[in-house]
Assembly symmetry: C2
C-alpha cells in the first residue's frame, strides 16, 4: 500500500466505513457514490476519486458491493485486529472514554489506564484498575500497546507524550488543549470540543 | 464581515486563538507568523494568508501584537459574550461535558441538560438539574439557547436534532456516531473518537 495517499483522504475513510455499516444494517447489498455522497455531504465524484486510490473497488453500473467495500476498508485501515489502547489521565474525560461502548465495534479496546493521583491509583474505572503513571513506560512496552488516549491537563501533556513516544506509542488521540510535538512516525489526532465550538460560534454572527 | 471566508480557514481561527493565549501567558507582547507556524505545524505563509482575510492584523517587521490579535479573533468568532449551551443526553459523555472546566475560558457554558430517562430526570449533573426531554423545545426557546451538545445514542440523534432545529438551535456539536441532516443556516460539528482512531490506525500499518 502506498504511504503517499493524502492524509485528508485517509481521514475520510472511517466516515465511508461508518456510512457503509449503517447501510448494511438496512439489509442493502450495493450502494453508489451518489448514495454515499448524500449521506456524507460529499460529491459523488469526490467519493469515486477517494476510493479509486485503493484500486477498482466498484463496478460501473452496479456501484459498490457494501460487504466487499467494508472488508476492503478494514484491510486498508488495519482494522482486521482489535487494537489495545491505554488511557493516560483518569479524570472525567478519561472515565467517559473508558466507558465508551462504541470503541469495540470500531476495532479498539481500552485495556490499561494510568494516573498519577494516589487517590485514583488502585481504584477501578469501567472494570480496569488504574495504574501508577510511574509504571507507564514499562507496562506499555510489556503489553505492546501502540495507541494512547491522552486526557491529562494541558500543563503535563507534552511531558507525558514524550514518555509515551519513548515507550513505543505510535498513535495518540490527544484530549489535552495543547498542540503536541512528536517525532516523525508518531501520529496525533486532536479532539478539543472548545475548538469546534469556537468555529461554530463564528456562524452565530 | 464577509460570510464567504472558506470554512477551513474559520476552523483554524480557534487554533490561532489557543496558541496566542498560551504565548500571552508567557508574558510575550508580539509574535510572528513564523512562531505561530512552529506551534501549529503550518507554514508562515499560510498563517499570513488566513489572517489577511480579516484586514491588516500585523505590521511588517513587528509581527502581530498578541493582545490585539486575541481581541480581534474574539470579535470575529463572536466570543465577546459567553454562549449558553444545552446538553441533550445525560450519559457518560454528557456528564464529562457538563464537568468540562475549559469551556468557560473559551466563551461557553452549559446551562441546561436534558434526558428522557426517568431515573435521570430531576437528578443533578455538575450542579445542573437534568430536565425531561419532553420540555426541550419550550425551555430552549425560553432561554434563547443557540448551541446544543448532542450526546444521545445514534438511533435517536436525528429525531432530537430535528427538534433542536425547530426550537431555534443554530449550532450542534454532535457526539452521536451518525451524520445529521440539518437545514441551511444550522451548523454541525461532529466529534467521534472512533473516526479519529480509525484514521490513526491506518498509520500503524
Amino acid at each position: 500500500m502506498s504511504q503517499e495517499i493524502p492524509e485528508i483522504i485517509i481521514g475520510r475513510l472511517p466516515l465511508y466505513l461508518r456510512a457503509l455499516k449503517r447501510l448494511k444494517m438496512t439489509g442493502q447489498g450495493y450502494t453508489s457514490s451518489k448514495e454515499l455522497g448524500e449521506v456524507l455531504n460529499l460529491s459523488p465524484a469526490q467519493i469515486r476519486k477517494d476510493l479509486s486510490q485503493f484500486g477498482e473497488l466498484g463496478t460501473r453500473g452496479q456501484g459498490y458491493q457494501i460487504k466487499f467495500l467494508i472488508n476492503k476498508l478494514h484491510q486498508i485501515l488495519n482494522l482486521e485486529r482489535t487494537h489495545d489502547m491505554a488511557i493516560v489521565g483518569a479524570g472525567d474525560v478519561g472515565e467517559a472514554l473508558a466507558k465508551y461502548k462504541n470503541f469495540i465495534h470500531c476495532g479498539f479496546q481500552v485495556t490499561t489506564i494510568f494516573d498519577n493521583d494516589e487517590e485514583k491509583i488502585g481504584t477501578k474505572m469501567s472494570g480496569i484498575v488504574v495504574q501508577n503513571s510511574a509504571e507507564m513506560t514499562r507496562v506499555i512496552i510489556e503489553k505492546e500497546i501502540e495507541i494512547a488516549l491522552l486526557t491529562t491537563p494541558a500543563k503535563s501533556a507534552q511531558e507525558v507524550a514524550d514518555q509515551l513516544v519513548k515507550a513505543g506509542i505510535k498513535a495518540i488521540l490527544n484530549y489535552a488543549p495543547i498542540e503536541l510535538k512528536v517525532p516523525e512516525g508518531v501520529h496525533v489526532e486532536h479532539i478539543d470540543p472548545a475548538v469546534h465550538l469556537q468555529k461554530l460560534s463564528y456562524y452565530l454572527g
